[in-house]
Symmetry: C2
Subunit: 156 residues, 2 copies
DNA sequence: ACATCTATCTTTAGTCT
DNA sequence: TAGACTAAAGATAGATG
């Protein structure tokens, strides 16, 4: 009587879709939970609801945040294979500091680099950035500084 | 012959753990994929490997990034229930701009706020921040500005 | 709408190659 | 180390209350 051949296509019927979503979400979360226990690992799932804009996560928001941060760090490292992220950052900062000492003058380029360094240390932006990302960030900070300066000028 | 009662505890044997991890990870990803199709939603899974530091994600890094960003936005909204995030940001920026025009002088407080606004617009930091997070960010930016200024002074 | 049931489908632990 | 196999365990579609 209970026929089942799940066609893997979008479920048009709202009631059926909602029921399936609820059951399967529960199943997935159970499986993810089991995997973390059986294998002693971290894992998380983020699932958007079809019925409201909320995204459900497993485990709690704290655990999810941790693994997301861990993922973001490592994925960025992977993207910049050509240079070790650690030596890259260390070298960049050391170079910026040297330049500051040598040139002995106000220099926006170094201001930007130092700002980036502070943000990296603080964790506001990922601890590792590849060259392209760093360049984007530099351009953004430079733009900000210019805007702030022009606004200040405008008011003087 | 094939006896199975899965005890839900850590699998001590390395070989068995690896085999189970591989099988179950595949299963979870399949289930998540099916859920997204059946219900027409976004979902992702992040799974740390027990054998190297890499975190595997489903779907690709691009899709994962999107849903993470969506999650981070909404979760932060939820945390600052007391005030709508949109009106909060809009109000804060408008106020800062008003102050700039009225006081007609260089003012670090506004510089900080404008910098935050730029970062918010750019997506470098989450689009929504609650009061505590905004305060932390303000303190950080202020500290950065002071450090940069003192370094510039030191060199003049 | 939700809870329970259960026949059937799907996953997977243990085993072998 | 990685597939393939298979029977038991587990998940769930559709039905019913």
């Amino acid at each position: 009587m209970t026929r089942k051949k799940v066609k893997h296509v979008y479920i048009a019927d709202v009631t059926a879709r909602k029921a399936t979503f609820k059951k399967r979400k529960k199943g997935i979360i159970k499986k993810v939970n089991e995997l973390t226990i059986l294998c002693g690992i971290q894992a998380c799932a983020l699932i958007a609801s079809p019925f409201d804009s909320k995204i459900e996560v497993w485990p709690d928001s704290e655990g999810t945040r941790h693994i997301i941060e861990r993922y973001q760090s490592t994925s960025i490292i992977d993207r910049s294979k050509n240079v070790s992220q650690e030596s890259f950052i260390v070298h960049r900062v050391a170079k910026a500091q040297d330049q500051v000492k040598k040139k002995h003058r106000e220099n926006r380029e170094k201001e930007v680099t130092l700002t980036i360094f502070q943000y990296l240390k603080s964790g506001i932006i990922p601890q590792q950035l590849n060259f392209e990302e760093l360049k984007d960030l530099e351009r953004l900070i430079e733009k900000n500084i210019k805007q702030v300066e022009s606004r200040i000028e405008e008011l003087s």
